[in-house]
Structures are given as C-alpha cells and as structure tokens.
C-alpha cells in the first residue's frame, strides 16, 4: 500500500474534489450543463461577500454584480485599483494560437500540468486552459491596450516553460492594464450600486455557523473599528503569502491573514511548501533593504544568462572574453536555453553563486546580458520591448543595462500553495470560496510564467459566477444568521482582544524586526533548496522566535485610529504560524518537485527527483489548535490525459 493510500485512509476531513464525469476535455461543459441555476429575479436576494479586489476579486465581484447578486467587496487597500496584481509585468497566457505555431487548449493544459511537475489537478488545469481564450476576448473588449503588430492584430511573446508564443502583454505593465480593466468593470458596478465597496477594511476573521461560512469580521484601518458582515457566500481572493520570506517581489502589504484566519476556522491549507522563487530579480544591495524588485521573465526572451567561469573574476563584464563566460542555461538545457522554467533556472543560478561565481559587489547575482540582442535587433527594438524595465533597473541598481549587463538573482515571488478548494473553488467549509493566488488549485508544484493572471481572471470571470450559483440555489428562501448571532459577537470580541494584546505586550522589538528574522529562517531552510535537518532546525527556531514575538513585541500608538505598526503585528503573527506549517509540509514531502527541492532527492545531474509512488497527492493541512500540530489530509492525484513523466527541458 503506497504512502498516499495510507495517509488517505487517515484523513480527518472528507475531501471531495467534486470533479465532474467524462473525459477531461468535456468535464467543464458537463458541469455547466448539469449545474443548478438561480433565477435572475432571485439573484438579488443573495448577498455575496468578496474579499480582495485583485484580478480574481475584482473580476468575480463585477461579474456577480452584473448577474444581479448583492455584492459587498472588501480590500485593505485605499482603492480597488491598488491590489498586488497591478505589479505583474510579463503577460498573460491564452491558447488563441494567433501565431499559428501549433498552440491549442490541450497544449496549454499539457504545458501547465508538466510545468507544475504533475502535482496539480488535471480537471482544474484543463478548465483553466479552456477559458484562457475567453479571458483575452473579455479584456480586449474592455479596452486593455495589449501590444499589437503593425497590421493591428494582437502580438504575442513566448514565456518560460513553453515552446509556443501564447503570451499577451501590454509593455511591461500587463498586470496593471488587466487589473485596471477589471477595476473599471468593478467600478461601474459600484457606481450602479451593485457593489458596496469597503476600502481600507481588513478581514480579520471568518465566521462559521453550523458548519457554513456565514460572514466575516473586518477591521476598519482608519478608525480601528471592528465590525461584522453576514452573507450567503464568502469569496476569498486575497492573494498569496510570498511575504512570509520578508524579502520578496510581492507588494509590502501582501499577507496571509485572510487565508490563515479561514484555516484556523477549519479550512484546509494545501501544499504550503510549494513556493516559487523567481530567477530574474534585482539582487539585494544592502541589509536595510525591505523589498526585492522583479525584472520580468520576458527579458529572458532576448537576454542571455551567464557567469564568469573564474570565481575570482575582477574585470568588468564587457571585458570578459566569450570563452571565459559560462552561458549555463544554454549549456545545461539546450532546447529551452534561457527560457527554462523558473524553478530550474533559479536553482542553476543559486548553485553557481554558491560556488562563488556570482557577480556584483556582493557576488550575489548572475549576468543577464543584452549586448547580443542589441546587436541582432538594434537598440530601438530592444528599447521598444523592454524600455521601461531597463529604466526601472537603472533607477534601482544605478547601472545602464544597455551598456553593462543586468545583475539578477532569484527571489520569492509566488506561492502555489493556498486554501484547499474543490472543482467549484469551494473550500471544505460550505459557502467559503477561494480564488486567485489564495487557493492552491491550478499550478501544482510550480507555476509557469504568465499563468497566474490567467488563473485569477478565469476564477473570477468564468468559474465562480457559475459555481457559486450552483451552491446558492438550494438556499433560496432559507433564512441565514445575521450579524446579531452570538457567533459574530464572539468573533468580534476575540479579534478585539487579539489586537489589544499586541498593544499590551509593550516589549522592545518592532513587528518589522520579527518579520525580517522570520523571513531569514524561512529563506535559509525552506527556500530554494531544502534538507531534512535544515527543516528540523527551522521547526526549532521558529517556535522560539514566535515565543519571543509574543513576549517582546512592541507596538506603539493605539488601536482606534490608523496604525500601520498594529496592522503589521497582526500580519506577522499569522506569517509565523504559516511559516511553521510551510516547514512541516516541506519536511513531510520526501521528494523533490517543482518549487519544492529537497537536496536528498535529486538525480545525478541535480534535477528534481519526484516520487510518484508515494507523493502524487495534495497535502491539505487541518488546523490542529496549535501551529506545530496540524493534521495532514491528502487528496490523491490521478492523471488520465497526461501521463506522469519526468520533467525534462533538455
């Protein structure tokens, strides 16, 4: 009996992924044909809370409001337009095959499953590939100015892990343009009264009554007031937890609080150890740094990655002769070259830097060189394609990429793990849905470039609006608990106590200090490469530091007006608890797959070595009352359409 079966037998929660019948290509259509519907006049009788106004949240809220539901939308940002989705640079995939280079829904589906190292749910991924096509249409109709060719048709570029050009982009600001598109559609509904927007309001707890999600508790960041909101369904589109590493490419405010509070209320947290380290970020320049900046992966279309062969190299990059350069990606992965997937490129860079071949003042980077591209395409074309990225680099690094090659190094970027959801994107708590980066659904152990925007929008535009209706239909006419229900009062009270407690500790160290230390531990032991003893070490260090956090934290100011230190304290608290789960998950998964690389499990060439026999499953964790004692539940993964194979990009 395999480990998967063993663990499955021990599940503490019944995990029903609700995958529809039929061949993978027909599942979504079958679902839509058989789902229950809510009559247009009845939709207005249902209230849906959408937390998060990123791509997933804004598109879901807008579409649900258009359908006629009452929608209350929450964001801790000052405006729906600020969500972290705005930072996405490179592009969004769509299986349009406009380039006629042999792309198809199946190929996008296949690439994504393979890219995810066979740790994602086939049915979800195929649905994603199917609707990717509609997303592009929808966004163009909204006036998203995607890049075009002189003929006036849409342009595409290729992205890591794919051999076709299927990525649509708007300069280096694709995420911004997509989010603004969704934001405008969302704003139209706010103007119409279809959506009530609560900005600068942070979800701090979820209320579950009789096993069903009945509403949320939020803290008004401006007044510190804590209030409850009830609804028939709650959607969490609250983004990823990459900031657990402290230093990451995520926006400063990104946090796990919403997902984590749901987890503590019984929602399972799946694959927390699947985190993505992006290969092309600007290396850390000094220790006071609080944020790393991504240089879009699209740069790898024309940039060549190399390091000097001699570790003691002292010359300027341009003075180093060809034969003393190691274009290691082209050497190791001839067929994908500089476009090898992220996890692979990242580890390759780490190895060389660890060997001392790193470049830059701290010897903590590798070169991304455009001189060849500038010769081939000319300065203008390169500027046309990457101009604004080059400017951004120059502002930050103070070097001009047209002359000296960029210096890049991997950094935490995306989190594949998240709340466990079934095919309907519903968590194991009825009425609680998770969309976008906040759920674990589609990317398995590694996400391919330009597919997160795609997933966020597919969840919000084309999946939730159907599946939520299917869930609400049976509730018609049933009365739901309101915010006067004792459970709400209790949750509010608990939240108040939690925040007052942070203020009361009155220790000596700021939340930032703890976040930084926490991040170091997770980066060192649960980062690009993980080992058994490393993770065990982390699982000793973390509780100790968490203890210190609880006793030596200092939060100044008070709880009844804008207090960013207090906000931060709450978020760091949740990061601590999540951090322990990440390490525990990484420790238990005794294989290497995608973003999760255990040094003990690798091929002779140092590639990830999967163990499909024992680990071809989703690890979904249940809150066990203490961050160190979670209960493991597994969902076995079956592959019908794609055959389990070792991932090779050679």
């Amino acid at each position: 009996m395999t480990l998967t079966e063993e663990l499955f037998a021990k599940n503490t929660v019944k995990l029903d992924s609700k995958i529809p019948d039929g061949p993978v290509a027909d599942k979504w259509d079958n679902y839509k044909e058989n789902m229950k519907l809510v009559n247009p006049n009845n939709k207005r009788k249902f209230k849906i809370i959408v937390v998060g106004t990123g791509l997933a949240g804004a598109s879901a809220a807008a579409t649900l409001a258009e359908l006629g539901y009452q929608v209350d939308a929450f964001t801790f940002h000052d405006s729906a337009r600020r969500a972290h989705s705005i930072a996405a640079q490179g592009g969004i995939n769509g299986a349009k095959n406009y380039k006629g280079d042999g792309d198809s829904v199946y190929r996008l589906f296949y690439d994504t499953v393979k890219g995810g190292d066979f740790r994602s749910r086939e049915a979800n991924v195929h649905r994603l590939a199917q609707v990717s096509v509609d997303i592009i249409d929808q966004m163009v109709a909204q006036g998203v100015p995607f890049a075009r060719e002189y003929g006036g048709l849409l342009d595409n570029r290729s992205f890591g892990g794919a051999q076709v050009s299927r990525t649509f982009y708007a300069r280096g600001q694709t995420g911004q343009q997509l989010l603004l598109g969704a934001y405008q559609q969302f704003s139209r509904q706010v103007g119409l009264g279809g959506i009530n927007l609560y900005n600068r309001s942070e979800l701090i707890d979820i209320v579950v009554i009789d096993g069903r999600a009945s509403g949320i508790v939020v803290r008004d960041l401006v007044t510190g007031e804590i209030t409850s909101h009830a609804a028939h369904a709650v959607v969490l589109a609250t983004g990823g937890y990459g900031n657990a590493f402290f230093l990451s490419t995520n926006a400063m405010a990104c946090n796990v609080t919403a997902a984590w509070r749901a987890h503590r209320k019984g929602a399972l947290f799946a694959n927390p150890c699947y985190t993505q380290i992006h290969p092309t970020c600007i290396p850390q320049s000094d220790d006071s740094q609080s944020k790393l900046t991504l240089m879009s992966e699209s740069l790898r279309n024309d940039g060549r990655v190399w390091v000097p062969t001699n570790p003691n190299e002292t010359r300027q990059a341009r003075d180093i002769p060809e034969e003393e350069r190691d274009y290691y990606l082209e050497r190791l992965y001839p067929s994908f070259g500089n476009l090898a997937p992220r996890d692979i490129s990242s580890r390759a860079a780490k190895r060389l830097v660890d060997k001392g071949q790193g470049v830059g003042p701290k010897k903590n980077g590798v070169y991304l060189d455009f001189s060849e591209a500038i010769e081939r395409l000319g300065h203008d074309v390169v500027q046309e394609r990457y101009g604004n990225l080059f400017e951004m680099y120059e502002r930050i690094a103070g070097e001009n990429p047209y002359e000296t090659p960029m210096r890049i190094y991997p950094a935490s970027h995306y989190t594949m793990g998240g709340l466990w959801v079934d095919y309907e994107l519903q968590t194991n708590i009825p009425g609680l849905y998770a969309a976008g980066e906040a759920n674990f659904s589609d990317h398995g152990a590694n996400r391919l470039g330009a597919s997160a925007l795609m997933q966020g929008l597919s969840d919000g535009y084309f999946v939730l609006p159907y599946t939520i209706g299917n869930g609400l239909a049976p509730l018609l006419g049933k009365s739901m608990p309101g915010i006067d229900h004792p459970e709400f009062k209790a949750a509010e009270e608990a939240a108040r106590e939690r925040f007052n407690a942070y203020l009361a500790i009155n220790g000596t160290k700021s939340p930032d200090y703890f976040h930084r230390e926490l991040g170091k531990i997770i980066w060192d032991y649960c980062g690009m490469e993980r080992t058994e003893e490393g993770l065990k070490k982390a699982l000793e260090l973390l509780p100790a530091l968490y203890q210190e956090f609880k006793t030596d934290l200092r939060v100044t100011g008070d709880g009844d007006n804008m207090n960013q230190t207090l906000e931060k304290a709450g978020r760091v608290d949740d990061f601590f608890q999540l951090g322990m789960l990440m390490c525990r998950d990484a420790l238990d998964r005794k294989e290497s797959c995608g973003g999760h690389f255990r040094s003990e499990y690798q091929t002779d060439e140092g590639e990830a070595l999967r163990d499909d026999e024992n680990y071809c499953h989703v690890a979904a964790w249940q809150w066990g009352g203490d961050p160190m004692t979670p209960n493991l539940n597994v969902e076995p993964l079956e592959f019908e359409a794609v055959h389990l194979a070792t991932r090779s990009y050679k």
Binding site: Q138, M139, R148, G152, Q185, S288, K509
Partner: protein
C-alpha cells in the same frame, strides 16, 4: 558602487487625524547607503521610532515598484520628489547629498483629506472612474479579440495614457488642485480605442462633471505633467476638452432625438 550619506535632516509633517492640527517634526538620519530607496530610509526611521516607544510615521506605500500608485509624498516642494518620471517609492538616496535637509509633506487638496501624518484619502479618483471611466462590456458577451484590428500607433497612444497609476501627484502638484491630467488620461485611453466609441461622449461629460464637484480647474500650468511618474502629457487635457465640446453637441442631438 555604494557609498554612504551622512547626517540627513528630515522635516516630516505629523498630524494625528483629519481634524487635528499638524506640524513639522524634525528627525536626523545619521547614516544611510545611497543604494537605499527613499521609503527604505523612512522604514529605518520608523523602526527606530517604534523601538524608542514613539509612534511610527504613517505613509502610504505598497508595490515599491512605481506601479500601484499608493506612495504619495511631497518631497522638498515637489510631488514624488526631485527625479522626473519617478514615483516616491522608486526614488533612491543617490538623488540626495550628505547634510541635506529634506522636507516631507502629504498631498494637499480638499478632495484628498489627510487621514494621518503623510497619508491621504484619494477615493475621489475612484468616484471619477465610477461615473464613467470604463467601457461597458459585461462578462461573457465579448467578440474575438482579433475581430477589430487596432492600429499600433493608436493602441500605443492609448497605452501611454492608460499607464496612469492613479497616484494623485498631478492634483498635488497643480497650483489649482485640478485633476484634469488624471481624468484626461483615462478619457484619452478609452476614447482613442474603437471599443470606447459607443460611450465616448456620455463618458466624457459624466467624468468631467464628477471631477468638477471635487477638484479645481485647469489653467494650464503644466505642473501635473512634470510631477507625473508616468510622464503623461497634458495633451490628454486638451483632448478631454475637445471631446467635452463635441459631447456637448453630440449628446444634445441624442437627447433631442428621443
């Protein structure tokens, strides 16, 4: 490579709340690397303040990549500080010298009430967008993306104004507290595109009227363009004025028809 700035004096606006009376507070940063960003300098200051038991300076920020438009500081009398086409978060200490005195204020406009210290409420921008800053295309009904070819020049021009990050620097910099650059940018983006034609004239009228309720008027000072981190040209303002004129005629015709 990296060298260090010494003895930077910061004059920072502190204000307990919207109604409270504010004042400048002086802090000294003894040493900081010029690799650090302006906001990282404030992070360091705040960390110090908190450990000393003082309240941290409240300021808005998020992406730190110059794209979300959250950061918003008036630095030495310039919105987003001295570097052209650069948001506060992208400003690095390279732009300053040892012994500099740097004055930091919040955006000031009646449409942007101060929440606390350097943080203001820019919801007024959302109201403008809600009043018409969109193309109505409800989910599901969209035709194939390549159905309407759009000249590269047109779509590039649309992209130029779509690049607006909604930071509010234009309003902050404008001697009249006018939002014409922000509004003009959105109108220019949408009305340049074929998809945007159907609502072109209702959009411009609605947005201009909403803008009028909250902001000042444009007398073509051109400060907004200089402050704009995306260097959006005041051409969009002229374009908005032109569309507004056309709308006045076009819409009246339509009203007369029905």
């Amino acid at each position: 490579m990296s060298n260090h700035l010494k003895n930077i004096t910061l004059r920072i606006w502190r204000q307990a709340g919207p109604a409270a009376k504010g004042k400048f507070e002086t802090h000294v940063v003894d040493e900081i690397t010029d690799e650090a960003s302006f906001l990282e300098m404030l992070d360091i200051l705040n960390d110090k303040l908190v450990t000393e038991g003082k309240e941290a300076v409240v300021f808005d920020h998020d992406c730190r990549e110059g794209i979300c438009g959250t950061c918003s500081l008036m630095i030495d009398g310039q919105a987003h500080g001295p570097q052209r086409g650069t948001a506060t978060c992208q400003l690095h200490m390279r732009q300053f010298k040892s012994n500099d005195t740097i004055t930091i204020e919040p955006w000031r406009a009646s449409a942007f009430p101060i929440i606390k210290d350097l943080m203001v409420d820019r919801s007024a921008f959302d109201r403008i967008i809600e009043s018409g800053g969109y193309i109505t295309s409800e989910t599901g009904g969209a035709p194939d993306a390549n159905l309407i070819p759009i000249s590269k020049i047109v779509s590039d021009a649309a992209m130029d104004s779509a690049a607006c990050i909604g930071c509010g620097a234009c309003v902050a910099a404008c001697p009249n507290g006018a939002a014409n650059l922000f509004t003009g940018a959105k109108i220019a983006h949408l009305s340049r595109l074929p998809q945007g034609q159907a609502e072109r004239y209702s959009r411009v009228e609605a947005m201009v009227e909403t803008m009028d309720e909250k902001f000042g008027s444009c007398t073509n000072h051109g400060e907004c363009e200089a402050a704009c981190p995306k260097e959006i040209s005041i051409d969009v303002i002229a374009l908005m004025n032109k569309d507004f004129r056309k709308a006045k005629f076009a819409n009246r015709k339509d009203l007369a028809r029905k």
